[in-house]
Symmetry: C2
Subunit: 344 residues, 2 copies
């Protein structure tokens, strides 16, 4: 047991790691029998199994799954690519995906692609070189080269997030247009007639924004303000945006912000000016970040379940991997829901 003053040796492993032949010798059986005890216990007599298990225990044998994978051509590893795990959506996605896959005996190799499209191919090469049995890829579009590499790997693939593109294989999508429409319907159902938006200028936020404004206009609503701010969203930008549209807020107005952070800033500014919430200004954000529930008043927002996406993705892949369950060729949409709180 190494201590601070006697650290583990650097490169050389201490004792030779115990392998299947060691266990076999100890138990007085063939290596193949040991393998069976581990992988298909029902095909081994209980007595033999017991002997083998005892040997495994005594020797502290940990099977080398790398060798097993090479032989069986199934690595029991899956690769996951997400832009970042700093965003709660992706963190939730990875969390549930990793859990679900691990339960099924698969280890997840995590890769963070960032939002830039710099070296996605080398990232994929590093991943596919480990011969994962399946691939989860979220967020960004693929270069043609990346697309080809993935296709040629010949493994089940789940893509997450963009419903717009044609999927490589399976797709768990999220429809930003649906969100815009749903929020519009939500406000309209509450009898609102005047609307405003604050949106970051990233493509997805803009889609939500445009669909929202189109929907309320189509329903005869009036847009009294529409501010676009450069990404990323900050609460300061939200404050500034609300200040800017303040003169136009002469009537009871429903405001849709493309991010909770913007909504938070807008609410802060509204309070600063004594605008009653939600009677004069109703606010809905997007993201369901921690701050939307913790803030006072807690505000209404759109929740996208990364966790749900991770679960669906895992079940899709496991179906393919095990051959069980229904085939899933149709893209599935992640559900979202409007979490109604005190600001609407």
């Amino acid at each position: 047991m190494p201590t601070r003053t006697e650290p583990l040796p650097a490169t050389d492993r201490p004792r030779a790691p115990v392998k299947i032949t060691d266990v076999a010798a100890r138990a007085g059986v063939a290596p193949m029998t040991v393998s069976r005890v581990i992988n298909t216990p029902d095909r081994v007599s209980p007595a033999t199994a017991a002997k083998v298990r005892a040997a495994i225990e005594q020797l502290g044998y940990v099977p080398n799954l790398i060798a097993g994978g090479l032989s069986s051509r199934r690595s029991r590893m899956v690769a996951a690519v997400v832009p970042t795990i700093a965003h709660p959506m992706f963190a939730g996605l990875i969390q549930t995906f990793t859990d679900a896959m691990r339960t099924a005996g698969y280890q997840v190799m995590l890769s963070l692609s960032g939002y830039g499209e710099n070296d996605k191919e080398s990232l994929l090469r590093a991943l596919l070189g480990r011969r994962p049995d399946a691939l989860l890829i979220a967020g960004a579009a693929h270069t043609p080269g990346a697309f080809q590499m993935i296709s040629e790997a010949g493994i089940p693939v789940v893509e997450i997030w963009d419903v717009s593109r044609r999927p490589i294989d399976m797709l768990v999508g999220f429809d930003h247009e649906d969100v815009g429409q749903a929020v519009a319907r939500f406000f309209l159902a509450k009898g609102h007639t005047h609307f405003a938006t604050i949106s970051a200028d990233d493509s997805r936020a803009l889609v939500r924004n445009h669909t929202f404004t189109a929907a309320v206009r189509q329903a005869g609503g009036t847009m009294v303000g529409e501010v676009i701010i450069p990404a990323p969203s900050t609460s300061q930008a939200g404050r500034a945006a609300l200040r800017q549209m303040l003169p136009a807020l002469t009537q009871r107005t429903a405001l849709f912000c493309s991010s909770d952070v913007l909504a938070f800033g807008a609410l802060t500014e509204a309070r600063h000016h004594g605008l009653p919430i939600p009677d004069r200004l109703a606010v809905c954000g997007f993201g369901n970040f921690e701050l939307s529930a913790a803030s006072e008043p807690a505000f209404t927002t759109v929740n996208v379940e990364g966790a749900e996406a991770g679960e669906i993705a895992a079940s899709f892949l496991l179906q393919r991997l095990t051959g069980h369950g229904p085939r899933t060729d149709e893209p599935v949409h992640i559900t979202f829901r409007i979490v109604e709180r005190a600001t609407t």
Copy 2:
């Protein structure tokens, strides 16, 4: 190119994956030469290398690192165990760790242990069975069995978080006592004489809390309130706690909360009662969550850099792995810093 209506075949890989012998045949060299072009290009003549690279390109060869790892006994994978990635500190840790290791050619296998100590050994078995070259393990204490498994794996290990225990190998620690003392010093330096705390009842929060109160008392300060709430922290609990201690807040008081969420709730309640911030009540949180910067007023808090820990852990492991750089036998403490904002 499969489409939604012609999905990829489920189990059978389309064409046989190209392997090193295919490339060798195509380039008219031995497999070993192809291997050298990939791994030690300087030991191959430029002309040969060019031929080989052309063949690799044409065939779309992606080397099977699993096979290579079995042969070379270096998997170029590292295992990482964290309780969760839902917490920003662990998300930051994993983010930078994964990035740094990938840059060095290592793939990270991520495992989430949860906070319960349920099946840590089976989790470790799954991980160590893949023969990682190194291990990062954060958060929770280890059972004796887990400890032994790790030791016997004979790989470099970095543990993160608990400085209290004797490390298995290398340690990147974080000292909760230091935090309590630092916050106490911070308030004392500002001339505070009256203090209060709101703390969740988890062991780490309590350590911070106790050290804080001990330090201010030793400096002659007066504790006017000390509320312990059951974990997990919520802003509602923070509000309630502040309400409870309100009668005791007859003087200018400095409040240390064990979490930003509690601090947020306390501030909300303080505003509700018209308590001037920071003149009557100064507040410091812990965690530097998104809401601490976004809230109005933005509040002072303690920031623990998970990102920094991830970087240090990666550099420790890479030093061992490559044999370069100074040996790191001494535990290193993650720095934290008090982020001063508008509430102090």
